[in-house]
């Protein structure tokens, strides 16, 4: 999966990929103060593509709001919501709107699920449907944070650690391996990184083709940009 931190006030963005064995569960957001947890599990392609590169994608998200007593499990198959001590199941094939005391859901058929957790966070999960008979790829999900300002300053996780901004500087632009993707030096978190100008896609407006967003790509699973190592974010279960 590709991670993107868009910073429009700087007219810039940072991006990195995380690749690990299919089936790995990563922590994306963890806010011990508000009791929010978002974990995601990856899957790989059906078989190894001709280029030999195994891509992984998120196929299942587990979201918990401890204080509100809300749990959500969103997979490429269906959506399960636990609130008021009962489970409700929704299918991606329906359009639905669910307003509860602690959570609002807006499901757009085969496309997106917007979740608003009371006084804490708002996000969208996109469903990418792939032709069933595609030889390699299969359905996967995207996770977009829309509003996280109510989360505490200690919020962390692969996405959460950037919710309160990030300071960086880029200098020393130089030709890279590919002519249209120059390399540069980035100073971030008191480290100096070699980065490459590239782009990644934001699928919110066009779920099929996405929109290219130019970004500074941080190599090796975001090493140097993310706190610690990618393995620090691996968790044992979805909840």
């Amino acid at each position: 999966p590709h991670f993107m931190i868009e910073l429009p006030d700087r007219e810039d963005a940072l991006c990195f990929n995380i690749n690990d064995k299919p089936g790995t569960i990563f922590n994306l957001v963890r806010d011990p103060t508000s009791g929010i947890l978002v974990n995601g599990q990856t899957i790989g392609d059906k078989m190894i593509p001709p280029d030999g590169h195994v891509n992984t994608y998120f196929c299942r998200f587990g979201i918990v709001h401890q204080t509100l007593g809300v749990r959500l499990e969103v997979s490429t198959q269906d959506i399960s919501v636990f609130q008021d001590n009962k489970w409700v199941k929704l299918q991606w094939s329906e359009t639905a709107s669910l307003k509860g005391p602690n959570v609002d859901l807006l499901l757009t058929k085969d496309r997106s699920l917007t979740v608003t957790l009371k006084d804490s966070v708002k996000f969208v999960i996109l469903l990418h449907k792939v032709w069933k008979k595609h030889p390699y790829h299969r359905d996967y999900l995207g996770f977009y944070t829309l509003d996280s300002h109510l989360l505490s300053p200690v919020v962390h996780g692969l996405l959460g650690q950037f919710y309160h901004g990030i300071a960086f500087e880029v200098t020393d632009l130089r030709p890279g391996e590919v002519p249209e993707k120059p390399d540069a030096t980035m100073y971030v978190k008191e480290r100096q990184l070699n980065v490459t100008r590239g782009w990644q896609r934001d699928f919110r407006k066009d779920v099929k083709n996405g929109e290219n967003v130019p970004c500074w790509f941080i190599h090796s699973n975001g090493t140097g940009l993310i706190d610690g190592n990618v393995t620090d974010y691996i968790v044992s279960g979805l909840f």
Partner: protein, 624 residues
């Protein structure tokens, strides 16, 4: 409060200022009108320069009083409370000038609660005036609403001005102001009807800042010395001193992170600042990213032509590259040293560097401790360094320490539309030195526990304050001397300080608050110790911290080293739980501001306007 189930019986703000030392008591009385218990919130904002000294709640005849404790001890209590699921009250940052104190308590049906918060501060003279700021947001109509301020200034008041951000034409006449030579009384007390936003509606007009500005008559020569109850305070800001020419090097950060609005505002501010230079001043402009570039190799006299050329240069500063603060500042220092050596600068003039940066050194020397060492050793006590920390990501404490180590000041510049004005305002404060190397001498056998009595500069519009304890409580007078370097000659005065009889001066007043000179001295001493604990030599740091803590406890001040603990009454839901009030540090405020800035952006974002999407950060993960 929730709807009209709580009635606000009274809100009173009672502020007494005696010789710049302000003592404010905020009292709120509320009644729970419903037939079940409910939570009532008390939330007030106080100036960040103030120290809370007391807080109490009276519930059903029982008074719960706050106790100032060492922060670490209070924290333990707090952690215990949190782990057992109880709540705690906290002080939070609120805007640039204020911080918010908030608590909530559960009140039984049909009963009332009284909250009383007391805080104290020494008003600082800035740009020729003192300011008392009271923020009032009662949320609903109040049966008895009153703001009363009494100012006692033995030096005499030169003017007093009162206004509020919420004053309409109807409310304006309700501000009563009585000013005599040495006393001012200002009150504002609208009735319920006058508070109403419109006839018959419940909304209140009272929402905003009530601001009093005043100045005192400046005393020629020695200044004003007051001896009260065994303590003395000396205010020194003589009028009519000619300004000392200055040699100022502007060191401007043009690194990539300054791009956009920050760079634009910096250029605008520089243009205005350059325009204000006096013909006798000298100036230089250095811009840095990973490269250091100076306009000219030495300082230039601020003639009209040179200023115009400098403005041309400043108007073209553009962002690029990384941040090499170390070499940027050192270039400025060396330029001043060389020009001094080559006698290109007037002998009696003030050397200063104004560094403007958004921080984060990442090129050349990037270790901030090393940069501080390099700058200190290059400056060698021969010039002042003023640092302007621009934006929310700046490492403010780095700049704060570095400027204090070099006879200067740091100021945070908040990222907002008025950043240009903030930059200019700071420049105005420091742009007119009147005296250099000011020494205030008091006889060793008469006073001790003196606050700082040497100051690198006295700026126009500011004031030097020194306080101390008298060795003999009965001392009625002692010799005071002040030395400084003025424009054309040395400033040297000496005279006798004598005790002020407040009872004689204010015969009709009751005891104002007798120990204010002692508390002023304690406040000033603690502030200076806290500064020393951050920027002083390492062996003095721990001593200063320990002394500041002792005094905070002794005088019951909530400072960054102490916390106020109030035990909440037992409720049906659980046992007693402590409320903790802390004093925020500038770094903690910065963190909060960052969050607010972020909130602002997100608020734009969540509006259902498609185009707003372009202006807010997004964090996402998706397929490649």
């Amino acid at each position: 409060t929730n709807e009209a189930t709580v009635e606000l019986c009274s809100v009173t703000v009672d502020c007494t200022v005696a010789s710049r030392f302000a003592h404010t008591v905020m009292t709120s009385v509320a009644v729970n009108k419903v037939n079940s218990s409910q939570e009532i919130f008390f939330e007030v904002e106080l100036p960040k320069t103030a120290f809370i000294t007391n807080f109490s709640m009276e519930i059903e005849g029982q008074v719960y009083v706050g106790e100032v404790k060492e922060k670490e001890k209070a924290k333990k209590q707090y952690e215990k409370a949190v782990s057992s699921g109880q709540t705690a009250g906290l002080v939070k940052a609120s805007g640039r000038k204020m911080e918010k104190f908030s608590v909530s308590v559960n009140i039984a049906a049909q009963s009332n609660v009284t909250f009383i918060l007391t805080y104290e501060e020494l008003l600082q003279r800035k740009l020729g005036q003192y300011e008392i700021l009271t923020r009032v947001k009662p949320k609903s109509l109040v049966q008895k609403f009153q703001i009363v301020t009494n100012i006692y200034e033995p030096q005499g008041l030169s003017y007093v001005d009162a206004h509020a951000t919420f004053l309409s034409n109807e409310l304006l006449p309700l501000v009563e102001k009585t000013v005599s030579d040495k006393k001012a009384h200002i009150s504002f007390s609208p009735t319920v009807e006058q508070q109403r936003k419109c006839p018959g509606c419940d909304g209140t007009l009272i929402d905003g800042d009530f601001i009093i500005k005043y100045d005192v008559n400046r005393v020629k020569g020695l200044g004003d010395i007051q001896i009260v109850n065994g303590y003395f305070v000396h205010f020194f800001a003589p009028p009519d001193l000619p300004r000392v020419p200055k040699n100022v090097v502007f060191v401007i950060d043009r690194s990539g992170s300054m791009s956009g609005i920050k760079m634009q505002q910096t250029r605008q501010a520089l243009l205005e600042i350059l325009k204000d230079l006096d013909e006798e001043d000298h100036f230089a402009i250095i811009q840095f990213d990973s490269d250091i570039e100076s306009w000219k190799e030495s300082l230039t006299k601020a003639t009209k032509e040179n200023v115009a050329a400098g403005m041309d240069y400043a108007g073209n500063i553009k962002d690029r590259g990384a941040t090499n603060i170390n070499d940027g500042v050192l270039r400025g220092v060396n330029m001043l040293i060389q020009d001094r050596q080559e006698k290109r600068l007037p002998e009696r003039s003030a050397d200063m560097i104004i560094l403007l940066t958004d921080g984060m050194p990442n090129h050349g020397e990037s270790n901030i401790t090393k940069i501080q060492e390099n700058v200190r050793s290059a400056i060698g006590g021969n010039m002042s360094l003023f640092c302007l920390g621009f934006g929310d990501d700046v490492d403010y404490s780095f700049l704060d320490v570095m400027s204090k180590q070099n006879k200067g000041l740091a100021r945070r510049i908040f990222e907002a539309s008025d950043a240009t004005l903030q930059l200019q305002g700071f420049y105005q404060e420091v742009s007119s030195p009147l005296l250099l190397e000011v020494d205030l001498h008091y006889p060793d056998n008469a006073v001790d526990f003196l606050t700082t009595n040497h100051f690198s500069q006295l700026f126009n519009g500011s004031e030097i304050v020194v306080a101390g304890r008298l060795l003999d409580n009965g001392v009625e007078n002692f010799l005071v001397e002040v030395f400084g370097q003025g424009f054309e000659e040395d400033f040297k005065v000496q005279g006798q300080a004598s005790a002020v009889d407040w009872n004689e001066m204010y015969p009709d007043e009751e005891y104002i608050f007798g120990d204010f000179t002692e508390r002023l001295w304690a406040y000033l001493t603690i502030q200076q110790l806290l500064e020393k604990s951050k920027s002083g030599p390492s062996d003095e740091k721990s001593n200063a911290t320990a002394k500041a803590l002792d005094m905070s406890l002794q005088y019951s001040f909530v400072t960054p080293l102490t916390s106020m603990v109030v035990t909440k009454p037992e409720t049906e839901d659980g046992p007693d739980s402590p409320l903790i009030a802390d004093k925020l540090t500038e770094e903690q405020r910065q963190l909060a501001d960052k969050k607010q800035l972020y909130t602002g952006l997100i608020n734009q974002y969540v509006r259902p306007v498609q185009t707003a999407y372009a202006a807010s950060p997004t964090y996402f993960v998706d397929g490649d």
